[in-house]
Structure formats: C-alpha cells, structure tokens
C-alpha cells in the first residue's frame, strides 16, 4: 500500500506541477495577486508529494519488496542497509526520481525563503520550475517508472552494480544533483526575469544565493565523484576526461562564470546579458549532461539506461527548455537597459575576461565531449578524445585565468589601476617564484610541475593579499587586526578562500608530475621501495563480506624503518552479478598518498599489484573543500553588496581598496 500510494503521489505531483506552471504566469500577466500567490504553497505541496513518493521507493528497497521491478534489478536481500538506501539512486529510475525530488526541493526552498521577493518574480520563477518538474515527472511516469510491478515476484534480486556499492556513492550523486539540478532555479529565475521584463539589481540580489548554493554542492559533488573514481576504479587516476565527468564540469564552469556575473549585476547593474545568458547556459549544460548520461548515448557505469525512447524524450525536453529560453532571451535582450558603465581595466572588465575564458574552456570541453559522439553518429568512426586533447587546449586556457585571478580580485570597480595592483601583488609573485624554485630543488623536473606549483603559490598568496593588506595596513597590533577582521565582509573572505582553494587544487595537480608508479607481482614477505617509503606485503588472505567475498593484502608502509601505516587493499567478488571490484588501500602521509590496488591472485600465491606514491595528491580534493568553504562563507554573508567605484585621480591607498 505504501508503494502504490507513492506511485499515486507522483502522479498527483505531475497534476500539481501542471497547475502551477499555468496559474502563476496567468496571474503575473493579468496582474492578479491571488493567482500569483498560488505558486509558493503548491510548490511546497509538490515537494511533499514527490518526497513521499521517494520515501515509498526507499521503503520498497529497504524491505526488499521484489514485486517492484526496480528493486529486483538493483537490490539483493543480503545487501547492507546503507546500500539498500543508496541503491535507490544507484539506478536509472531511482536517480531520475531523485532528480525531480531535488527540483522540487529547490522550488519549495524558494517558496519558503523568499517572502521579501517581488511577487511577480517569485510567481514566474516557481512556474518555470514547475514546467521543468512536470516535464521530468512525465518522463519518469512514461518511460522510466520506478514503480513498475511484477505479478510474480522473484525470491531474490540481481544486486546493485558492485562499483556502486561504496560509501562514495552514498554521498556523490545527491551532492552532484543538488548542484546540477540546483542550477535549475537560476534558470527559472532568468526565465522569470525575462517574462517579467525586469532584469535589474533586485533580480541579481535574489538569484545570487541560489547560484552560490548550487555551485557549492556542484563543487563538492564533482570532487566527491573524482575521489570515488580514484579509489574504486583502481587506476590511481582522479579525472579521466570521461564524457560523464565532462558533463558535470561544463555546468560547473558556466556556474562559476555566472557567480561572478551576478555579483557585478547586483552591485553595478552591469553585464545583464551575460548574467541571463550564463544562467540559461548553466542549466542547459546540466540538461545536456542528463541527456548524455541518461539516454544511453554513452556507455559507462552511469548509463544504466539504454532505451532509445528515453533518449528521444530527454532530447525533446532539452530542445523545449533550451530553445524556449533562448527564444525568450532573443525577444527580450534587445530591450535591456544599459547598466553601470565601466572602463576596460576594472573589476567588471576583469570579470568579463573571466567569463570569456571560462566560456571558452566550457566550449572546449563541449567540443571534446560531443565531437567524437557526433563523428560516430555520422560516419560510424570511433575516435577517443582523452587527456592529450584537453591538456593541449584546456590547460593553456586555464593558465592565464590563474594569472589574472588575483589581479581581478584587487582591481577597483568602474576604473582600476593595473600598475598599482601589480605593485601590491609583488609578494605573491615572490612567493610563486620561491615556491617554483623550492619545488625544483626538492623534486626536480618535469618543468611543468614546478612551474604550475609556483603558479599555485602565486594564486594562493594573491588570493589573500588584499585581505592581508587591509588587516595589516596601518599598525599591526593584534587587537587592531582582530577588530579589522571582524569588520571584514564575509563575502571578501569567501572570495579569498574560494580563489585560494582552486590554487590548492592546482598545487595538488602540479605534484602529479612527481608521482611514482610501480606495477609488479608480490608474494607475502616481499618488500619494495616506492618513493620515500618501503612497502612490505605481510599477508594475503580471504574473507567473506555480507554479499561479496574478498582477497585482501595486508601491507605495511614504513618510512625510514618506522611503520607509517598499514593498509588492506582488496579485490571483492560479487557472486550475484558475477563481477569484481577493487578496493584500493590508501594511506595519506604528509598530504600525499600511498595507493595500492591489487588484481587477481595467481596460482603460485603471488598477487598483481599497482602501487603509487602520489605526493600532495590530497590537496586536489582539499582545494575543492576550501573552495566550497569559501562559497559557504560568502553565502552566510547576507549583506547587500554595492560596488563602489574609486576615483581615478586617487591611486592605491589601502583604506580605499574596494570594499570586497
């Protein structure tokens, strides 16, 4: 009964979404406040209904109700509880249900936390959000229904793909979806602003926190996904330029550009077209990612669906929403009023450059992801565009971005003083050179590694230069510094942390050049040197897990004779799916990681092993955490942000530095 009520609740949510996609817009066009007031409560009710439906599916998974096809195909009664719960979104149907749940969650959140928002903007935003909900709920009900039942339920299910039976899976998709689907709300805001015909600072003020929230989740989700791939796929790699990864990177790039744009728009009412365009672009890329992943166009862990009907349906949704918003955009963009003016060298100018570079990066990833698919569709030829393409195109684009990041952060609004900024960044330059020299002396080549390491140090120091100068500016008594720190806007701190975070990630990436990789076969008792460590395979043994059996290799890692860590890399075998999965043994030692992944046991008692020493690798994900922290700091700053132009005749005085 719970299952069927869940099914009915989902159908009911579709009906409500359709109601909510019409009444509020009618109200806004007719100027009727009652009709506009329908949007928030209906958005909240839709969320409750979809939430109940999601609960019902989870209940079926937890109780192993094999009368549901979805449960049979993706669960097993012996599966640990956590994977019964996470298995709900570990399959096509369930993950689509999570998709609409997040859509509805953002709708409900806007309905609850925006009482001070202009009511026509709120009504239209929620209406557009309802269109998206309606389209996807219909998609679920017609092509991917998780509530499909079986008249004669089997006694046991097929179990979940072992690669997905991992704590990483428990966190990665919900986070990624919060980011990915969270961008829907910025899209809805943009479409609503276009419908209302009012695109101004007030709009930017209300859209900014949502963009920031989605961006934080997306950042964490991508980092989590990368770490999950790193430790379960057994290759020691953390980014494969796989189309599925690229599908999440593209919205992130667009969302990052959008984030910067909304701050300009809120403060100066400039870059309106950029803001609206990026808001549409970011969600369009999310939709594209959904299409790529869900249509079965790609074959990977993620493409559980290989049903052409689903692909065509999502393609229709894609065309409808991207096309519709672009038509609306084209119709309204001409009538936009010019916002605040600015000189080419200014904070606004720097953000325009930032947008251009990020958009170009995004286009590069887009081409690198879709060109092979298009080529295969047209000529049948299969080519693979991997790391070499992206290293040649993406990296050269990102280097100037890193160089400009601290500069842009310190330029004043309206009209900036490039020479003054360069002078103030002298410490950052110095830190970069010093870091590069130190890294070259310690680790040696390749040159790319220590040069990028130097760049990373420059970005990190540069990110805090402005704040440092403000804190230490006039007299440095601890009390004065503390007083100034409390006076600092949290948004400025957030910016500094987010920028430093990407620098930290860059440092981790740069260090991959100094990694050590060994592929060998080991027998218990064998010892070998990997980087600065000595590894001893102490024991090889078997043990049984709840729904798998595994061979594990107890390995001792010593540094100069002292035991630094003991790890147990293992190879798990899942009988129901007849497949294996490696569980890497990872020890984090002074920011780097020793990574051991074992393959099959050979008849003579040896085991194949891939062993890596990856210096500073944890910084890659650490940087993402710092970025997200910066975003959260900025999000917690609910002050209004106003850009204050500095007069050209008065150059660099610390007190006159831009407010944030």
């Amino acid at each position: 009964m719970i299952v069927e009520t869940g099914h009915y609740a989902l159908v009911l949510a579709l009906a409500l979404a359709l109601v909510n996609s019409v009444l509020p817009i009618w109200g806004s066009l007719a100027g009727d406040r009652r009709l506009m007031a329908v949007a928030p409560p209906v958005a909240i009710m839709s969320f409750l209904l979809i939430g109940y439906s999601y609960f019902a599916l989870t209940y079926a998974h937890v109780t192993s109700d094999f009368s549901l096809l979805n449960v049979v195909e993706n669960s097993h009664s012996a599966k640990p509880l956590i994977y019964k719960i996470s298995g709900v979104w570990g399959n096509h149907e369930g993950s689509m249900l999570l998709w609409v749940l997040v859509l509805a969650l953002f709708g409900a959140a806007v309905a609850m936390f925006s009482a001070s928002m202009p009511e026509d903007l709120r009504a239209n935003t929620l209406a557009v959000q309802s269109w998206i909900s309606a389209a996807f709920v219909l998609f679920i009900l017609l092509t991917s229904n998780p509530f499909a039942r079986l008249g004669a339920p089997p006694a046991e299910g097929n179990d979940l793909n072992p690669l997905l039976q991992d704590p990483g899976l428990a966190i990665h998709p919900p986070l990624l979806y919060l980011g990915y689907v969270g961008l829907s709300i910025t899209y809805s805001f943009a479409a609503a602003a276009l419908i209302c015909g009012r695109i101004d600072a007030v709009f930017a003020r209300f859209v900014r926190p949502w963009t920031l929230a989605a961006w934080i989740c997306l950042t964490l989700g991508i980092a989590m996904g990368s770490y999950w791939a790193y430790y379960t796929l057994g290759w020691g790699g953390f980014w494969f330029w796989d189309p599925v990864e690229n599908a999440s990177l593209m919205p992130w790039l667009a969302a990052t550009a959008l984030l910067h744009c909304t701050s300009v728009m809120e403060k100066r009412e400039a870059l309106k077209i950029w803001t609206i365009f990026l808001a549409i672009l970011a969600f369009s890329l999310s939709l594209l990612g959904t299409f790529l992943v869900r249509s079965g166009v790609l074959t990977s862990v993620h493409a559980f669906a290989t049903d052409p009907m689903r692909g065509v349906f999502i393609l229709l949704i894609l065309v409808l929403f991207i096309g519709g918003s672009l038509v609306l955009f084209a119709a309204r963009a001409g009538g936009l009023k010019q916002g605040g003016l600015f000189a080419p060298i200014s904070r606004e100018g720097a953000i325009v450059v930032n947008n251009l570079i990020l958009s170009t990066c995004c286009a590069t990833v887009f081409v690198g992801t879709l060109y092979p698919l298009a080529l295969e569709a047209v000529t049948g030829e299969k080519i693979s565009v991997g790391a070499p393409f992206f290293n040649l195109t993406f990296v050269p684009l990102f280097v100037p971005l890193f160089i400009l990041m601290p500069v842009g952060q310190m330029l004043a609004w309206k009209r900036g003083d490039l020479l003054g900024v360069a002078q103030r960044l002298i410490y950052a330059f110095g830190a970069g050179l010093l870091m590069a020299a130190a890294l070259a002396a310690i680790h040696g080549g390749p040159a790319v590694s220590f040069l990028l390491g130097g760049l990373a140090a420059y970005v990190i120091v540069g990110a805090f230069t402005d704040i440092g100068r403000r804190l230490l500016g006039a007299g440095a008594s601890p009390a004065a510094i503390l007083r100034r720190l409390s006076g600092l806007p949290r948004q400025a701190l957030g910016t500094a942390f987010a920028h430093a975070g990407i620098g930290v990630t860059l440092l981790g990436l740069a260090a991959s050049g100094w990694g050590v990789e060994k592929i060998t076969t080991l027998r218990p008792g064998d010892t070998l040197d990997v980087g600065p460590f000595q590894l001893t395979l102490r024991d090889l043994a078997k043990r049984e897990g709840p729904n798998y059996s595994e061979i594990f290799a107890t390995t001792v890692i010593r540094s100069g004779g002292v035991v630094a860590a003991v790890v147990e890399p293992s190879l798990r075998s899942y009988p129901t799916r007849r497949s294996n999965r490696t569980e890497a043994g990872i020890a984090t030692l002074s920011l780097g990681q020793v990574y051991i992944s074992i393959g099959g046991l050979e008849p003579d008692g040896k085991v194949d092993a891939r062993i890596f020493w990856k210096p500073l690798v944890s910084l890659i994900w650490g940087g993402a955490l710092i970025m997200a922290f910066g975003g959260a700091l900025s999000l917690s700053d609910m002050r209004l942000r106003v850009g204050v132009g500095r007069r050209a005749r008065k150059p660099a005085a610390p007190q006159a530095a831009p407010a944030e």
């Binding site: 009709l35 109780t63 009511e119 903007l121 079986l150 089997p154 007069r647």
Partner: protein, 373 residues
Amino acid sequence: MLWVFFAALTVAALTSVFWPLLRTPRGPSRSAIEVAFYKAQVAEIERDAARGLVAKHDAEGAKAEAARRLIMASETPGPGAADASPAKARAAIAVAVLFVPALAIGLYSSIGHPGLPDLPLTARMAQPAAKLDIMAAIGKVEAHLAESPNDARGYAILAPIYMRLGRYEDAAKAYAAMLRLEGETEERLSLYGEALVAAAQGDVTAEAKKAFESAKAKDPAAPRPRFYLGLAAAEAGDKAGAKKIWTELLEQSPPDAPYAPALREKLAALDGAPAPAALPGPEQNPALAANIKAMAGPEQAQAIKGMVDRLAAKLAENGQDVEGWLRLVRAYAVLHESEKARSAVVDAKRNLADDATASARIDALARELGLEG
C-alpha cells in the same frame, strides 16, 4: 483503504491550490521591495564609509548611482500592484477541481497497480510453502544448497528449472555439481553439454564438445551427443562431417522421434537451403531453443499448442472474455511466441475497447511480460 489514502492525498493537493486563492493577498508590493532594496544599498555604503572601508567621495558617487536606480525603479510600476479578482480565482478553482483529480486518477489507473499490496521479502518468506511460487521455491532450494552443497537432489531439481528460465550458466553449474556428486552418465554429460551450449548462445564450446564426446563414449547410440557433435562440426566449418553425423543419426532414429524435424531442418540448412522461418523466442539461437523444446517433451508441447489454438478460436468468435484473453497472451508468452502474444494484445484491446478496466489489465499483463514496443 487504498482509495481513502488516494482521496486524502488529492484533497491535500487541492487545498494547496485553494488556500491562496481564497485568501486576500498580503505582502509588500514590487515597488516597495525595490525601494527597500536601494535604501539598504545606500545604508550599506554609509556603513562601509564610516568604517573606513570606502573613501568618502567614492561613497558619495555610489550613493548617487543607487539613488538614480531607485528613482528609475519607482517610476515603473510593476504588474503586481493590481488587485486580485475573485472571478479569476473562481475560474482557477474550477479548473483545478476538474483537472487535478481527473489527470491523477486517469493516469494512475492506466499505469498503477492498485490491486497489488506491498510484498516485503520478510512477509513473503513467512508464508507456508504451499503458497510459495516457483521463484520463491527456487530461492529456498538455493538457500538449502548454500548450506549443504553436497546434496545432489537439490541440483537435480534446480538444473532443469534453470534451463527453462534461461539461466543457462547456473544450469551448467548445477549439472556439473551432479556430475561431481553422482558420477558420469550419458544423460548427465549430455545435459551438462547442452547447458554449456545454451550458455554460449549456441556455440558448441571446447568444454561442451568434450562433454558430448564423453557422453558418446558412454552410449554410442544416444541421439543427443551425436546431434551436438554434428552441430560442433557444422560450426567448425566441417559441413561434410556434420552431414555424415546427422544423416546417420536420422537414419538410425525412429521417424517420429521428437528431434527428427529439427534434425531435418539442420540438414536442409547444411545443403544451403534457406533456413525455415525462425521461431521467435528469447534465446539468441531460435533453432536451438526449438531443439531443446522438442526434446523436452513433444507430445506435451503438441497438447499445449492444441489447447492454445482452441482458446484462440473461441476468442475469435466471442471477444468479450477478459480472462480468456489474459490466458491466451500469457500462454503465447510462455511458448515464446511473442509476435502472436503482441497481436493477441492488440486484438484483445480492440475487442474490449469499451471496457477500460479490462484494457488496463491487458496492458498491465503486456507490460509485465515485456511485450511493449
């Protein structure tokens, strides 16, 4: 009970639409919000100026700019300023009352299964054995074998069921276990080989060939190993060898042997004659599926076919029998005649077009059997 819940959910959903429509709208107007926004901006600039974060004359400039925007904003009244109209609200309520339940109940009754209760595994396992369905029975035997893996009886029960369910690899494992536990006979070796062939989608693998050769060594006259050894030769490209084996087998078999038709087909195909229209079925190799079926029990198959044909004829005369249609569709699906099953679904729905519940039941069955599209 279920429908009471559905009704409650529908009422709750509708309430969320009515409530705002029946209330007098409150909350600030658009221009009030904008005025507040720009005022707050000006206050913010002043606060920063007082803290020394912003130079005084820069602050003046920014304030002037904000003030300009404020004046612009207050000059363009928003659409939200107008009042609410009760007539529109009534129209909206009417639309919602008609539309929401109609769509929800209409769509649900075509895709939902209101008759099926929740079936958590624990509740099903607690049922007495007599009520257990075949799948649950398999589960019980499997569980028993997991505990005592040397019980040959269990494998003897499971192996043929696995074959019928298309779980050929499991069937091969079960036959292998029987060979290990009970020793080799012609029959066990042949069945093991047949399962291997089925698991390899019709390829007679080296392992399967070895099994058939051992079986033939046990009983040189047994038809099954000879049939498959012929198939192995044919697959290896040795047409002459295959022809020799099969011709001999055909000559030495009684003319009404269940496998004779399949054998004749094979021989005809060897001679380059077009293969007879393949029987539809889930296996990748329809001819093989037909062989297995033929060898399993031809009289039985014949009897079933006769019953199904009679049922089809009866329904062609009188199409109003829902139960009959359901039985026919299911029978065709069981016989792997999915084309006929599909056309039966279409015929059934044409005959029962007036009866929505019956159509829904036919649809549900078709979905369950994977007969869509």
